[in-house]
């Protein structure tokens, strides 16, 4: 009898405590797969949300559930995960990976009305009017290319070669840039575009072709694994790394670590502060690292941390405007989160980028060029407006 009474009291006690509100954020990256070397942003975003749980009890009093899934850079897997995030996890915000999947999903994202942070920088998914739920955290691939080309023109260079994998990530932005006419406008000459398989291991033949064109600059629209193969085989045929410049997915300590001297002088577009920089955000990360493991200590982790700051700020503002707790109507709450995300201006992300502004859905369009010098990426100038 006593046992029953105790159980009843306990049950009443638990019933009296209101259930703590939760918000779900769903992240898919390429935990495994050909782009796994640059997946730090998936971990960075997840960790920032966990950091908020650790230090502030979540966002505006609501615990954040952050689910990290592996899309494996496979379209069908990513489409499946998206549906899980929207319908099963009831995510208020989704962070998704590949260019191909985001392009495939852009209409569904509109129909589902779910705020979406894309890790792709393809300009074809960035249109606040056409795709009001898709946000990006940096300059588009095309804007990154423009920065590199302007730099070449300023230095008096003429001949450009573009290298890219033969998939959507590679060929899509290259086509957009070619059709835009910016290369000619800058007085440059695109002497060749060299494509290769995304998972190619040997690019010696392609590098011989590049060498035969005698370019002043070779732009790499690819990621770290491909950049490693390119620079390695460029050295093999006698091409200096100084000729090459890559997009923002070619900044990784792995490149100088693996290539050593062969990577010296390689340049890449840098849109975020590197891991370990003396900035307020890094102090947060160090604080987080005392209680948890930081899986990836690189610039992409910083990108993810910055995305976490922006997403959390939007959710926090949405909770405030919804009366201090997340609206139980997930569709309505997603709508408010989207509006709050778009309303963010001059958001301080702890120094990872210049202040963020999501009115244009891009966060920041500032970037600079960094060069490998003595095994480390060193900025060669100030932040440039990619527009």
């Amino acid at each position: 009898m006593k046992l029953k009474a105790a159980a009843a009291i306990l049950a009443l006690a638990f019933a009296a405590v209101p259930a703590r509100a939760q918000v779900n954020v769903c992240i898919w990256g390429t935990i495994t797969g050909p782009d796994a070397l640059v997946n730090g942003m998936s971990y960075g975003l997840r960790d920032y949300l966990q950091f908020l749980n650790q230090t502030q009890g979540g966002i505006a009093g609501s615990k954040v559930n952050s689910l990290l899934l592996d899309g494996r850079y496979k379209l069908d897997e990513e489409l499946k995960i998206y549906r899980r995030c929207v319908d099963e996890e009831n995510a208020v915000f989704i962070s998704g990976w590949s260019t191909g999947s985001v392009k495939a999903l852009r209409d569904q994202i509109n129909n589902d009305a779910v705020p979406f942070m894309t890790q792709s920088f393809a300009s074809e998914v960035l249109d606040p009017k056409k795709y009001p739920y898709i946000f990006m955290a940096g300059p588009t691939y095309e804007q990154q290319m423009a920065i590199a080309f302007r730099d070449l023109a300023a230095r008096g260079g003429k001949k450009v070669v573009i290298m890219s994998p033969d998939n959507e990530y590679g060929r899509g932005p290259v086509n957009v840039v070619r059709q835009s006419g910016i290369i000619k406008q800058l007085g440059l000459d695109l002497v060749d575009t060299v494509e290769f398989r995304f998972d190619a291991q040997d690019l010696t033949a392609q590098m011989l072709r590049v060498k035969s064109r005698n370019p002043d600059m070779v732009y790499i629209q690819a990621s770290t694994p491909q950049a490693i193969a390119i620079l390695r085989d460029a050295a093999k045929v006698g091409l200096s790394a100084k000729l090459f410049i890559g997009n923002l997915y070619t900044i990784s300590p792995t490149i100088p670590e693996q290539l050593g001297e062969s990577a010296e002088g390689f340049r890449a577009i840098q849109a975020y502060a590197p891991y370990g920089t003396d900035i307020p955000a890094m102090k947060q990360i160090d604080q987080f690292a005392t209680k948890a493991t930081v899986e990836k200590k690189d610039i992409y982790y910083m990108k993810g941390w910055m995305e976490g700051i922006a997403i959390a700020a939007a959710i926090e503002n949405a909770i405030k405007t919804s009366g201090g707790h997340p609206s139980p109507d997930i569709k309505q709450f997603r709508q408010v989160v989207r509006e709050q995300m778009e309303a963010q201006t001059n958001l301080d992300d702890g120094g990872i980028t210049p202040p963020l502004n999501f009115v244009n859905h891009q966060g920041s369009v500032q970037a600079r060029i960094a060069e490998i010098n003595a095994g480390k990426y060193v900025p060669t100038g100030e932040w440039i407006d990619a527009k």
Partner: protein
């Protein structure tokens, strides 16, 4: 296929349909994925399991179906027409792939299909006017027999209808002369010739029928993803289909669907198990390892796959037509062992 098998086939379809209702859009997507993979696996099982023609071009054939259906649908044709059109073009391309089979056998022919896969993948990327290149072809939603195919749930019905029809048709095929000829060709082309079977003709029919089914599966995949992209129809997909029929049971009637369900759902099971145990990051990396290990284990210990494992539990329920027997009954009875007559 006997009445009991028919009941099982329809029962499985009804069960899948109910699951899609219970588990919402995500469940519907998974049911679609299993049904589409099942149709594609039935197609490959017909070619490899019944006719003995090893093909690594299944992924590309599905791609042909997806692009064809996408173009037809975008041109304003209905879903059924688009699916049938995809089947027809799939059959034609499959027959073209099969031409080398008239002169090549075994491993040599398999290499030829590998080349066909590579060529088709390349064509998907460069035939911009009909494939939209690497960007992929966005497929507008259409309707199937008057029902709009605008959501995952609305695709379940056409997928299951086609699965059931194909499943029954393939099973019935084994009861007619052509189906029996497939089995004889699989066992020995010399014996087939000796029996008066036109081997080239028989092989070509296998490619045509298999290609037609694969084209329809590709069409459904295109409608499900609303995109036909070269990245979706690579050699990896062909390998997945071969894994499905090996794991399910090569040359068995329920094997393709069992294998399809296994291959489609295994990553999901591993993912959920990892999440429950808090080790999803680690298990993610192990998924491919588990997958590969299972194929090796099946090849070593039970080449007839899950179907044979299930048949040990309930022998009369499974109608296997294993490669070591010519007695294709097609009625679910276990074939007689060699030398038993």
């Amino acid at each position: 296929m006997n009445t009991r098998h028919l009941v099982i086939v329809v029962g499985v379809a009804v069960l899948l349909g109910l699951l899609s209702l219970v588990f919402g859009r995500y469940g519907a997507y998974l049911v679609n994925a299993v049904a589409i993979a099942g149709i594609g696996a039935l197609s490959l099982n017909l070619l490899i399991g019944y006719c003995g023609q090893i093909s690594f071009a299944q992924g590309a054939l599905l791609g042909v179906g997806a692009y064809t259906a996408g173009n037809l649908s975008n041109a304003g044709l209905g879903g059924l027409t688009a699916i049938l059109g995809a089947g027809v073009l799939g059959a034609i391309i499959s027959a073209l792939i099969g031409i080398p089979a008239l002169r090549l056998r075994g491993l040599y022919f398999a290499i030829a299909t590998l080349a066909a896969q590579a060529i088709l993948e390349y064509l998907f990327k460069i035939l911009d006017p009909i494939t939209n290149g690497v960007s992929g072809l966005v497929i507008k939603p259409t309707s199937f027999l008057g029902f709009p195919m605008t959501s995952d749930a609305s695709l379940v019905l056409p997928s299951l209808i086609i699965l059931v029809v194909v499943w029954i048709a393939v099973s019935r095929l084994l009861r007619i002369d052509l189906g029996r000829a497939f089995l004889v060709v699989r066992e020995s082309e010399i014996v087939a010739k000796g029996m008066g079977i036109d081997v080239a003709h028989t092989k070509m029919w296998a490619f045509l029928i298999s290609g037609f089914i694969a084209g329809m599966a590709g069409a459904l995949a295109g409608f499900a993803n609303r995109l036909a992209s070269p990245e979706a129809f690579t050699l990896d997909l062909s390998a997945d289909y071969i894994a499905m029929i090996i794991i399910g049971g090569l040359g068995t009637w329920p094997g393709p669907l069992i294998g399809a369900a296994f291959v489609v759902l295994l990553p999901e099971v591993i993912q959920r198990a990892g999440e429950a145990a808090g080790i999803s990051d680690i298990l993610s990396a192990l998924r491919e390892l588990v997958f590969g290990s299972l194929i090796i284990l099946f090849l070593i210990f039970e080449p007839r796959g899950l179907t044979a494992l299930l048949s040990r539990l309930k022998p009369r329920a499974i109608g296997a037509v294993p490669p070591d027997s010519l007695q294709a009954t097609g009625d679910g009875r276990q074939p007689q062992q060699r030398g038993s007559r």
